[in-house]
C-alpha cells in the first residue's frame, strides 16, 4: 500500500511531566503524499507533529522514548545535527508568525543563515518562492516593507514561502488555516495540493471537511493514541474502528 | 574545499554561542554576587556594633559628636514616618486604584491617561519631591517636622502604591465584576466588597512595597523631616530617620558615631529584607487563591 515511506515512527512515547501525551505511536508516513493527522482538539496531534523536527525540545519537562526515522536517520538520537534536520522540514504554524523583518528578509533569512549571501541569487530565490505561493504579484513592489504589514492570509503564505526557502523535503503544517478567513484557507489548501507533487506534507487538522478535501493518507488520533491509519479513501468510506466511525460521522467535532 | 569552509562556519557559530554563554553566566553571577556583597558588607561592618543599648537608647551628647547612646530615635522615627505616610497614601491609593478599574472600566482612554500620569509621577526622583515639599514649607512658614515628612513621603509613594495595586486589580476577571453588578450591587459595593476581597493579598503586597520605599528613602525626608536626637512626641516635631541616621553619622570622624551609622544600616537592611520576603510570600499565596 505504501510505496516509499518518508518518516517511520516507531513506538514513540512522550511524557510532559507526569502526563502521558503520546502513547506508543507506531506509523509510517508516505513520501510525496499529503498525510493528515486528524482528531479532536487536545489529543496530541500537534505534539506529534512537533516531535518530528524536535521542536518539543523547547518545552520544559518533555521526555521522549522511541524512534523516528527520516531517511534512515533517527531524529530523536541525541547526537544528531539538529539544525540540519530541521532544515529538511518546513514548518507552518497555526497562525502566521512572520519574523520581525521585511518581507524580503523573511524569505532570505534561512538562506543567509546557511551561508548564501550573493545578492543576485537571493533576489532570484525570493521571486521564485513568492511565486510558488502566488504572493509575488501582490508584494513585488514592497519587498522592503515589514512583513507584519501584510494581511493575515498573505502572512501565512509568506510563512509557507519562508519554510520552502531552505529547500525541505517535508512540510509540517499545524492547523495552518485555523486563524484564516475562508478565502485564504482555500488558497492554502490549493497550494498544498499543488505542493504535494514535490514535498511530503504532514498536516494537523481537526476540521473533518478539510481533511476530506486534501488528504491522501489519514492518521486518526484520539487521547494520545493512534486509533486508525490508512489511505484517505479507506478511512473516510470504510473505517474499521468504532471511534473513527463515530468521529467521521461527526459525533466529536 | 567547499566542505571545509562549511565546517569552519559551523565551528565559528558554535564558538560564538559558547563565548556569549560564558558572558551570560558571568553577568548573572555578577548580579547575584553584587547582592551578596552588599548584604555581606553591611552585615560584617554593622553587626558588631549592634547591642541592646544601641537599639534601646537615643544618642547622648548629640548624634554627630556624642559617643554614647544608640539609634532608637531613628528606628522609632522611621517607623512613625513610614507608617504615617503609608496609611495616608493608602487612603488615596486604594480608592483610586478601585476607581480606575471598576468605575472607569469602560473608559479606556481615561484609564490609560491616568496610568500615564502615574508612571510619570513614579519616575520623578524623590529629591524633586523633597525640594518641592521644602519650598512649600518655606512658603507656608512651617518648620521641618514629622507631619511635613509624612506628607512629602506620602506624595512620593502614592504613584507607586496606585500602580502596584492597579497591576493586581487589572487581573480581576471582567465576569466577576459583571456578576457582582448583576446581583444588584452598586459600583462601590462591588469595588470594596467583592473585588477588594478577591485581591487582598496582592494589595497587601503593594502596601508593603510602598512601605519599603517610604522607610528607605532619604532624599525626600532630608529637607522635610529634619533630624533630631529625640523621639518625636507630636506631629509638629522634627524626627530622625534610619536612612539619614546612616547618612549623617557615617560622615562623622568619631568611630563610635560611625558605628551608629553601620548599626542603622543593618537595621534598615533587615527591615527591607523582611518586607521583601513577606511580600513575596503574600504574592505567592495570592497566586494560589486567585479565582481564575
Amino acid at each position: 500500500m505504501i510505496n516509499g515511506s518518508k518518516i517511520n515512527i516507531e513506538h514513540l512515547n512522550l511524557h510532559i511531566g507526569n502526563k502521558h501525551i503520546l502513547k506508543d505511536i507506531h506509523v509510517k508516513i508516505p513520501e510525496k503524499k499529503l498525510t493528515v493527522i486528524l482528531g479532536p482538539s487536545g489529543c496530541g496531534k500537534t505534539t506529534l507533529l512537533k516531535s518530528l523536527n524536535r521542536l518539543t525540545d523547547l518545552y520544559p519537562e518533555v521526555k521522549t522514548q522511541g524512534k523516528i526515522f527520516n531517511d534512515n536517520e533517527d531524529i530523536l538520537h541525541p547526537k544528531i545535527e539538529i539544525t540540519e534536520l530541521r532544515k529538511k522540514m518546513g514548518l507552518l504554524a497555526q497562525s502566521p508568525y512572520p519574523l520581525p523583518m521585511s518581507i524580503y528578509d523573511n524569505i532570505t533569512y534561512g538562506l543567509r543563515i546557511s551561508g548564501r549571501r550573493k545578492k543576485k541569487y537571493l533576489n532570484k530565490r525570493v521571486e521564485y518562492y513568492l511565486r510558488q505561493v502566488s504572493l509575488w504579484e501582490e508584494v513585488k513592489d514592497r519587498l522592503k516593507d515589514p512583513a507584519s504589514a501584510l494581511s493575515i492570509g498573505q502572512q501565512q503564505r509568506l510563512c509557507l514561502a519562508r519554510g520552502l526557502s531552505v529547500d525541505p523535503d517535508i512540510i509540517l503544517a499545524d492547523e495552518p488555516t485555523s486563524a484564516l478567513d475562508p478565502v485564504s484557507s482555500r488558497e492554502i489548501e490549493e497550494l498544498f495540493l499543488k505542493l504535494k507533487q514535490r514535498y511530503t506534507i504532514v498536516m494537523v487538522t481537526h476540521i473533518l471537511r478539510q481533511a476530506r478535501r486534501v488528504a491522501d493518507y489519514v492518521i486518526f488520533m484520539y487521547l494520545g493514541e493512534i486509533i486508525e491509519h490508512g489511505p484517505a479513501k479507506q478511512i473516510f468510506e470504510n473505517p474499521k474502528n468504532p471511534i473513527t466511525k463515530s468521529y467521521i460521522k461527526g459525533i466529536y467535532s | 574545499m567547499k566542505r571545509k569552509f562549511r565546517v569552519n562556519r559551523k565551528l565559528l557559530k558554535k564558538s560564538e554561542e559558547l563565548l556569549f554563554r560564558v558572558f551570560m553566566i558571568l553577568s548573572t553571577t555578577i548580579i547575584i554576587m553584587a547582592l551578596l556583597a552588599i548584604i555581606a558588607s553591611i552585615l560584617i561592618k554593622g553587626v558588631p556594633s549592634l547591642s541592646w543599648s544601641m537599639i534601646s537608647e537615643t544618642p547622648k551628647g548629640g548624634y554627630y559628636f556624642g559617643k554614647e547612646g544608640g539609634i532608637l530615635n531613628a528606628i522609632i522615627g522611621s517607623l512613625y514616618l513610614s507608617t504615617g505616610a503609608t496609611l495616608l497614601a493608602l487612603v488615596v491609593s486604594l480608592p483610586l486604584a478601585l476607581y480606575i478599574n471598576i468605575h472607569k472600566m469602560k473608559q479606556k482612554r481615561a484609564v490609560n491617561s491616568i496610568r500615564f500620569i502615574l508612571d510619570l509621577l513614579w519616575g520623578i526622583p524623590s529629591i524633586v519631591y523633597g525640594a518641592f515639599g521644602f519650598m512649600l514649607m518655606v512658603y507656608l512658614g512651617l518648620r521641618t517636622s514629622l507631619l511635613a515628612g509624612i506628607l512629602t513621603v506620602a506624595l512620593f509613594i502614592i504613584p507607586i502604591m496606585v500602580r502596584s495595586m492597579d497591576e493586581v486589580l487589572k487581573t480581576v476577571p471582567k465576569g466577576l465584576i459583571e456578576s457582582a453588578f448583576s446581583l444588584g450591587s452598586t459600583k462601590s459595593e462591588t469595588a470594596f466588597r467583592i473585588v477588594l476581597r478577591q485581591c487582598i493579598p496582592g494589595l497587601i503586597t503593594a502596601v508593603l512595597l510602598s512601605f519599603g520605599r517610604a522607610i528607605g528613602d532619604a532624599a525626600a525626608v532630608l529637607f522635610t523631616a529634619g533630624y533630631t536626637d529625640y523621639i518625636p512626641t507630636s506631629l509638629s516635631q522634627p524626627t530622625a530617620t534610619l536612612p539619614l541616621s546612616v547618612f549623617f553619622q557615617l560622615s562623622s570622624p568619631i568611630p563610635e558615631v560611625q558605628n551608629r551609622a553601620y548599626a542603622s544600616a543593618v537595621i534598615l537592611t533587615i527591615i527591607v529584607l523582611i518586607i521583601s520576603i513577606t511580600s513575596r510570600a503574600f504574592s505567592m499565596k495570592y497566586q494560589k487563591n486567585k479565582i481564575k
Partner: protein
C-alpha cells in the same frame, strides 16, 4: 417595621455610594493635578532667576559662586551626564545578557531564584548602596586608578557610576525579562525550523523583535539613574569642577540640591538656583521616561 427600615437602608446605601464615589473622584483629580502643580511650582520659583541671568549663562557657564551671585550649572550637568551614561554603559550589557540567559538558556528554577534577587536589589534603600559603595567600590576604584598611575581617592565619577549601575540593574532587568518572555514561542519555532541555531535565533529574531523594548528599558534606566541622589552623593566626591576623567570627583545635580538645602535660604537667589536644578531634573527625567514609554507603545503596534 420592615417598611420603615427599608427606605432608611436605601438612603444609607445611596449616601455611602455617593460619598465613596466623591472621595474617589477627589483622588482622581489630585493625581491629575499633581504633575501640573509640581511643574508650575518649580517654574514659578526658578523663573525669577531668568530675569537676571540668561539661560545660556546658567546652562553653559562653569562659574559656580553663589556668594557673588554666579550660577553656572555646567559642572553639575556634565557630572550628571557622565555618571548616568557610564552607569547605563555598565548596566546595559549585564542586564541584556542576563535576561537572555535566564529566559532562553536556563530552566525555570533559575528564573525563580533570580526573581527574589531582583526584588531585593530593587528594594535595598539608596543609602545602603551608598554605604556599600564607600566600603567596597571606592577603595576598589582608588586601586584601579593606581594601575593606570592616576592619583585618586576613589571618590569619583566611576564609583558613582558603578554604584548607580547596580541600582538600576533590577529595574532594567525586570523589564527585559518581561519583554523576552512575552515573545511568542512560535517565533523561535519558525526560526529554528529554518535551520537556525539557538544563538542565531536569539540574535537575529528574538532580539530584533525585542529591540524597541530593549531601547526603552535602557531609556527608563537613564531616567531612573539621572535622579538618584543619596547613594551617588556618598561616593562621588562632590567637587565643583568640570570632570575630565572617570577617576575624578564629580558633583551631579541631585547631590547639589541635597548638599545645600541648609544654606539655600541664607544666600540670595540660591534657593531659586536649587529649584532650577530640581526643575532640570524633573524635565530630563520626564523626557526620558515618557520618550521610552512612547517608543515601546509605538512599536508594539507596529511589529
Amino acid at each position: 417595621m420592615k417598611a420603615i427600615a427599608l427606605p432608611n437602608f436605601k438612603t444609607r446605601r445611596v449616601l455611602r455610594e455617593s460619598g465613596s464615589e466623591f472621595w474617589m473622584k477627589c483622588c482622581y483629580i489630585l493625581i491629575w493635578t499633581m504633575p501640573i502643580i509640581l511643574l508650575t511650582g518649580l517654574i514659578i520659583k526658578s523663573a525669577t532667576l531668568f530675569q537676571e541671568k540668561s539661560v545660556l549663562e546658567l546652562l553653559f557657564s562653569s562659574k559656580w559662586k553663589p556668594l557673588s551671585g554666579q550660577f553656572g550649572f555646567l559642572p553639575f550637568i556634565l557630572s550628571s551626564l557622565w555618571i548616568t551614561f557610564l552607569s547605563i554603559l555598565i548596566a546595559a550589557p549585564i542586564c541584556l545578557l542576563t535576561a537572555i540567559y535566564i529566559t532562553q538558556y536556563t530552566k525555570r528554577i533559575v528564573l525563580k531564584i533570580m526573581h527574589p534577587v531582583i526584588d531585593i536589589l530593587a528594594g535595598i534603600p539608596s543609602v545602603i548602596y551608598g554605604v556599600w559603595g564607600i566600603l567596597i567600590i571606592v577603595p576598589f576604584v582608588a586601586k584601579m586608578a593606581s594601575w593606570f598611575n592616576i592619583q585618586s581617592s576613589g571618590y569619583s565619577i566611576l564609583s558613582g557610576a558603578i554604584v548607580l549601575s547596580v541600582m538600576i540593574i533590577p529595574f532594567v532587568l525586570n523589564i527585559l525579562i518581561e519583554i523576552y518572555r512575552s515573545i511568542p514561542l512560535e517565533l523561535s519555532e519558525a526560526s529554528l525550523s529554518l535551520g537556525a541555531t539557538k544563538w542565531e535565533t536569539i540574535k537575529k529574531v528574538l532580539t530584533q523583535k525585542a529591540f524597541p523594548g530593549i531601547i526603552s528599558s535602557f531609556g527608563l534606566g537613564v531616567s531612573r539613574a539621572f535622579g538618584e541622589t543619596i547613594a551617588v552623593l556618598m561616593v562621588v566626591g562632590n567637587v565643583v569642577q568640570i570632570p575630565r576623567g572617570i577617576f575624578q570627583a564629580g558633583y551631579p545635580l541631585p547631590a547639589l540640591i541635597a548638599n545645600n538645602y541648609g544654606e539655600m535660604l541664607s544666600i540670595p537667589m540660591y534657593d531659586r538656583a536649587l529649584m532650577l536644578a530640581a526643575l532640570i531634573l524633573f524635565v530630563v527625567v520626564t523626557i526620558f521616561n515618557l520618550g521610552s514609554r512612547y517608543l515601546i507603545n509605538y512599536y508594539e503596534k507596529k511589529i
